[in-house]
């Protein structure tokens, strides 16, 4: 297994208030060469989880517990220098922020060759050639000219591509992308998702992707983890998850999307309230206050994890499998 996350907890200390548990005991795997999705709305712990995996959370005021095993090595136990060495080389974050992800004062070339020289130990000239290859690979029309271009001279799509090239430069086996397409136009989003899929297929790197958009997940991720309130409430292979969503949250989330296929839905609001209305996992189901299938037991006992039938499910009263 390439990446194994075990019982990860991320706790933010807050002055004068009780600690905020952003990630509350999450375990999942990312096999080599696969695309794994983490789906969650705001407050689900999605970003904190990704930042913890990348070890990018500040030390002060944040407690990270559990294990993040990359090829069996626990990243959480590494020293800062060693982690810096591995970041970019073994695992790399795709920072798809077309307006802020690149340094505006430096041409694209040095931003790419820097990563190549550092992580692959290349000399100046070969790094330059490798950078041209990378830019060509991500579909930049004039890769040689692209090296001299400043970010503002490129279009949003080209900048997004360049950011993917920067992330892929060190030849990492794991790419981590937090909301890769949130700020993009629809047609650009389609280009970028296609590129990410191709890159994974060609390089054999794995991709861990977070998003709030179930549509993006449906066509891209082989395994999907649904996060709610800092825990995984459902996990399955994508056909199974979308075909028969069992957790009421997953079920409601799918119903809440105004879709382009099929007849228009008469109403969308299948889940009431917002992510703020939640109970503590320790002695209840966090989703219970918003759940249409909630039973009295849901606010009294924390639901156990059920891993039968090739699916992880954390629910007292799941949607029957035949409901779809």
């Amino acid at each position: 297994m390439l990446l194994e996350v075990r019982d990860l907890r991320v706790v933010f200390r807050r002055r004068g208030r009780p600690d905020a548990v952003a990630v509350d005991g999450v375990s999942f795997d990312v096999p080599a060469g696969q695309v794994v999705g983490l789906v969650g709305e705001s407050g689900s712990g999605r970003s904190a989880l990704v930042m913890a995996v990348m070890r990018l959370l500040p030390r002060r005021g944040v407690r990270v517990e559990g294990q993040v095993l990359l090829d069996g090595v626990d990243l959480l136990t590494l020293g800062d220098a060693e982690m810096r060495e591995r970041r970019g080389r073994d695992l790399s974050m795709v920072l798809l922020r077309p307006r802020s992800g690149l340094n505006p004062m430096i041409p694209l070339g040095p931003q790419l060759t820097g990563a190549l020289r550092r992580h692959r130990g290349m000399a100046r000239a070969p790094a330059r050639e490798a950078a041209v290859e990378l830019l060509d690979r991500v579909g930049i029309a004039d890769p040689r000219g692209g090296l001299a271009a400043y970010p503002h001279q490129l279009s949003v799509s080209a900048r997004s591509r360049a950011l993917i090239a920067v992330a892929a430069a060190g030849g990492p086996r794991l790419l981590v992308a937090d909301e890769p397409t949130a700020a993009l136009d629809v047609t650009t989003q389609a280009q970028i998702l296609t590129l990410l899929r191709e890159l994974v297929r060609e390089t054999g790197a794995a991709l861990l992707m977070t998003t709030h958009d179930l549509g993006v997940v449906a066509g891209t991720c082989e395994t999907v983890n649904v996060l709610y309130g800092g825990r995984i409430v459902e996990r399955a292979q994508r056909h199974r998850l979308f075909g028969t969503p069992r957790h009421p949250y997953t079920h409601g989330l799918l119903g809440a999307i105004p879709r382009l296929d099929g007849p228009p839905a008469p109403a969308l609001a299948t889940i009431s309230g917002s992510g703020r209305d939640r109970l503590p996992w320790a002695r209840s189901c966090a989703f219970a206050p918003r759940c249409s299938r909630a039973l009295p037991v849901c606010s009294e006992v924390s639901p156990a994890v059920d891993t039968s039938g090739g699916r992880l499910l954390r629910c007292h009263n799941p949607v029957p499998a035949s409901a779809e």
Binding site: E41, S42, S155, V156, S157, A158, D185, V186, T187, T188, Q189, A190, Q191, L193, T194, H212, D213, L214, G215, V216, V217, A218, G219, R238, H239, F242, G243, G252, L253, L254, G255, A256, I257, P258, R259, L260, D261, P264, A265, P266, A267, L268, A269, T270, I271, S272, S274, G275, R276, R290
Partner: protein, 327 residues
């Protein structure tokens, strides 16, 4: 209850009548110097009780369109008439009363204060307590919210307050500028249901601009697709989503991910190269032609395609070859 209001009894006179609207591109000095336009002769009509959805990516002019309706000063040519009267000839309070723009607000104030201010600026008497309570009840918020500051509210509550602010003057036309942008899916769904209900109950005419094509489909009776400041396709919503005729609309619809792996795996995606264009120097032929997978050497590069009826009545597309692209 359906979110779609009954088709309005069509009188020939539309409530909102936009003719040949031209709005210059603002902000970038380079663009201003080149005398480029964000909207390049847009015409559309919105009837009473109807929702007209505008679809457009960045650079399409969709946002400029939403702004130009209620702010006549931004336009350099064309007409925007409400009930036959040009919006530019109305006094400001009247305009503010009859045309309301729904967009996320960022002011810090109490909800009661915000609503009172909206009424005042529209030249209406300030509402009493009962009036205020009624206003927040319409958007399904409890009375207690009136005394609270907007910064204490959740995103969903905040957007409901925005809806209340838009409705408080009893407008004829609601201009909604990406009403659910940035909201969580479950919260956005609640707001969309609310908007659909309020529209239907009040028979409100609505011009809806949104980036999410699913949102536009969900709320709109008719849809116009903007590309580089021009409407390239206009159609009843049902017909547009079932059978888009303009190549750009086809590419756009095919690019929207559907939350169903079975559909996603079978789908043929029309991948466009390049970006949605910024309003640079006006092209001679079809503005979409450089990115169009169906481009032909004759006509497309030289001749500007007019918006014309294709197929059924009311379905317009600006493409020389709309009929020949099968679908």
């Amino acid at each position: 209850m359906t979110p779609r209001s009954e088709p309005a009894p069509r009188s020939d006179a539309a409530l909102l009548d936009v003719r040949d609207l031209v709005v210059p591109a603002v902000g970038r000095r380079r663009l201003r110097r080149a005398r480029t336009v964000a909207l390049d002769g847009v015409s559309l009509q919105v009837h009473r009780g109807e929702t007209y959805g505008v679809v457009g990516e960045s650079g399409s002019g969709a946002v400029d369109l939403a702004r130009a309706i209620a702010t006549p000063a931004t336009r350099t040519a064309g007409e925007v008439r409400l009930d036959g009267v040009d919006v530019g000839d109305m006094d400001a309070p009247q305009r503010r009363r009859r045309i309301r723009t729904l967009r996320p607000g960022h002011e810090h104030a109490t909800v009661a204060g915000l609503l009172a201010e909206e009424m005042r600026s529209a030249g209406l008497p300030e509402p009493d307590d009962a009036g205020l309570r009624e206003l927040v009840a319409v958007v399904e918020l409890p009375d207690g919210v009136l005394r609270r500051g907007t910064q204490e509210l959740t995103d969903g509550e905040r957007r409901r307050v925005d809806v209340a602010r838009a409705l408080c003057t009893g407008p004829d036309l609601l201009v909604a500028d990406d009403p659910v942008a940035g909201l969580d899916v479950t919260v956005a769904a609640q707001l969309l249901d609310l908007l659909g209900r309020v529209k239907a109950e009040r028979g409100l005419a609505c011009l809806l601009v949104a980036r999410d094509l699913g949102v536009v489909r969900h709320l709109s009776d008719r849809v116009g697709v903007l590309y580089r400041g021009r409407i390239v396709e206009e159609s009843p919503a049902r017909a547009l989503y079932r059978g888009p005729r303009h190549p750009y609309t086809r590419a756009l619809l095919s690019a929207v991910p559907v939350p169903d792996p079975e559909v996603e795996d079978r789908r043929e995606r029309i991948l466009l190269t390049g970006d949605p264009p910024l309003p640079a120097d006006p092209a001679r032929g079809c503005a979409f032609q450089p990115r169009c997978p169906w481009r032909r050497p004759e006509r497309c590069a030289d001749e500007h395609p007019p918006l014309r009826t294709v197929g059924t009545a009311g379905h317009l597309a600006a493409c020389h070859y709309a009929e020949e692209i099968d679908g």
